[in-house]
């Protein structure tokens, strides 16, 4: 029974790390995959999500509703940001990086001035369940399940809706998609908004587990960006899932033995080695596999 419990515990650790990386990076990777733009204000969008959730929760809104509210608020803000600033930087990747950095400075410092150095915390919903001598947080189990649902939802969105079809077309060849009547401007705006919303949603989900402060976004910067670099921009879903699972495989044992910081350093080193082997990320490798199978089938 003990060894069974240990296996469950290891799986739990692994899934928790994977879900953390996936949720940190998902919004970023959605935007990157579509527009080849890295949104450096990503951490601050997560901060906005956490702020929205905290404010709503302390006004008596149930937590799950808070998370959805965070998605909507930040998605709206994302759309606004895209319309006013980001859309001027399509095709200028480095310019987009720098301008979103400027936005992140304004957002974090603005939050500090408007809301002060801390917002009241949200207690972690749910208790814990025990298996053998280990106990697991129900909340994190829910988060793991939710990230699976989220990925399934994104997959359905990209594969079964008109938006998804047009989005994939714009990703492959924007000029051709435009020529065939796809409104790529609208696709870009919706994608940026979706990515921002996902960041806000993740921020709300992480809100009970961290302290809610103006500069809280910084702690997600390293894991999120490493996940994106390893995942690559070729395919949003395989990139996000493959990369977070692979990195969790690195982080879980090393973090368990040497502590969280060394775990994150191991992530960076793993990312350096991985980009040396597959410069376009894991999603490009998977995509090539899929393409080859289709060709021979």
């Amino acid at each position: 029974m003990d060894s069974f419990a240990t296996v469950i515990s290891i799986l739990y650790q692994f899934a928790t790390n994977g879900a953390f990386l996936l949720l940190s990076a998902l919004g970023l990777i959605v935007i990157l995959g579509m527009m080849n733009i890295i949104n450096l204000a990503h951490g601050e969008l997560m901060m906005m999500g956490a702020y929205t959730a905290s404010i709503a929760w302390h006004h008596g809104v149930p937590f799950w509703l808070c998370a959805i509210l965070a998605f909507l608020v930040v998605a709206l803000f994302g759309a606004l940001l895209e319309r006013t600033i980001v859309r001027r930087f399509y095709g200028r990747e480095l310019g987009a990086l720098v301008v979103t950095w400027g936005i992140s400075l304004i957002l974090s410092q603005g939050a500090l001035m408007v809301f002060g150095p801390f917002l009241p915390a949200i207690p972690i919903p749910g208790g814990s369940v025990g298996v053998g001598q280990y106990s697991f947080s129900v909340y994190w189990l829910m988060v793991i399940a939710l990230s699976c649902v989220l990925i399934a939802g994104l997959w359905a969105l990209y594969n079964y809706t008109t938006f998804g079809l047009q989005a994939r077309a714009a990703m492959q060849n924007a000029a051709m998609a435009r020529a065939l009547g796809v409104n790529t401007e609208r696709i870009y705006m919706l994608t940026f908004s979706l990515g921002a919303g996902l960041a806000g949603f993740s921020g709300a989900l992480f809100a009970p587990t961290v302290s809610i402060a103006p500069f809280m976004g910084q702690q997600f910067v390293a894991p999120a960006f490493i996940t994106v670099v390893v995942g690559g921009a070729t395919n949003v879903i395989t990139g996000a899932v493959g990369s977070s699972l692979l990195l969790s495989l690195v982080k879980t044992p090393i973090g368990f033995v040497f502590g969280a910081f060394v775990g994150t350093v191991a992530l960076l080193l793993a990312a350096l080695v991985i980009i040396r082997l597959m410069p376009d990320g894991i999603s490009a490798v998977i995509q090539r596999r899929i393409d080859r199978r289709h060709r021979f089938a």
């Binding site: 990157l32 080849n36 890295i38 600033i85 001027r88 930087f89 200028r92 990747e93 480095l94 310019g95 990086l97 720098v98 301008v99 950095w101 400027g102 936005i103 992140s104 400075l105 304004i106 974090s108 410092q109 603005g110 500090l112 001035m113 500069f215 910084q218 910067v221 390293a222 960006f225 490493i226 994106v228 670099v229 921009a233 910081f261 994150t264 350093v265 960076l268 990312a271 350096l272 080695v273 980009i275 040396r276 082997l277 410069p279 376009d280």
Partner: protein
Amino acid sequence: MGRLSHLLKLLTGPEDIGRSPLFWAAFVAVSIFLFVYPFWLTEFEVTNIAYYLLNVPIALGLGLLWGYCGVLSFGQVAYFGIAGYVYGIVAGNMIGEAAGPIIGSLCGLAVSALVAAIFGYFVFYGRVQSWIVPILTLVLTLLLETFLGQTAGYQWRIGSVQLGGYNGMTGIPAFRLGEYVVMGYRFYYYVLITVIMTYLCLRLLVNSRHGKVMLAIREDAIRAELLGYDIRARQLVVFVLAAILAGVSGLLYVQWGNYITPSQVGLLQASLPVIWVAVGGRESLLAVLLSTCALNWLNYTLSSEGYQYALIITGALLVAVMLFFPSGIVVALARDLPKRGLRALLHGGEGDAG
């Protein structure tokens, strides 16, 4: 004599704004002014001005890397911090020995260069996409900050020097050459000479053959490669050079304030060189030089008045510049100033034609 005229020709080559004789007259005049006017200032004021100047090398390094080579780095402060800390460790363990600060400086620069070389090898030889370099350099500097932040306590002691965790390393010895301890007025001149020499050397570099190849890589990496240049090695060399320049600023910083804290390699500090370079104009060394001094002065003035808007103003400035002056304010002014006189001053002969 032939060598000298060759150097002069390189110095006035086309790859920076400010090429006319009038510009060089102004450059010399400003330099002389900077050398002379500390006589009218107190030691405190001179030390402040030295602080605005000491950030110029890291900014010039980033300008070279981003503007001339097309590689953006958000992590230049990592090399700044590495050089500063290594200097503190080495020189701090050699207190009393005349050569300590010199050996410490060399070690600091060497370690910065080494880290950049290892890091750059993976990035450039992997031929990654352009957005990956800034992201990974940013992650590197954040991890460095986290690492240095947890080095509090007695076990984090190298020789007789404590790393000091979030409180940082204190009591770092000043630079000295033999008998002369470089402080106060001497420190100002030491920084001023370093800055002017760095600027002139980089101007020689960007107008040299190597500089032309660098620009070719920026303009079209594949074409440059098809012409037979090893773009990976070239980018790596520039990356290491930029790291060394960041290290120079780091050395000057610790020799100026005699302390360094992990927040020097944090996210906010990391954004500053990018802002200086973007606001001035990344494709001109002169613009970077000017905007770095101006923005350091501005930032110092704002924050010394306890101005909580300082970060918002810098952020807004960055966004506004990227939106309205994508090539930078100084460069835009130099290019578009309608006044003929100023145009002739900044552009030399060709400016009149445009």
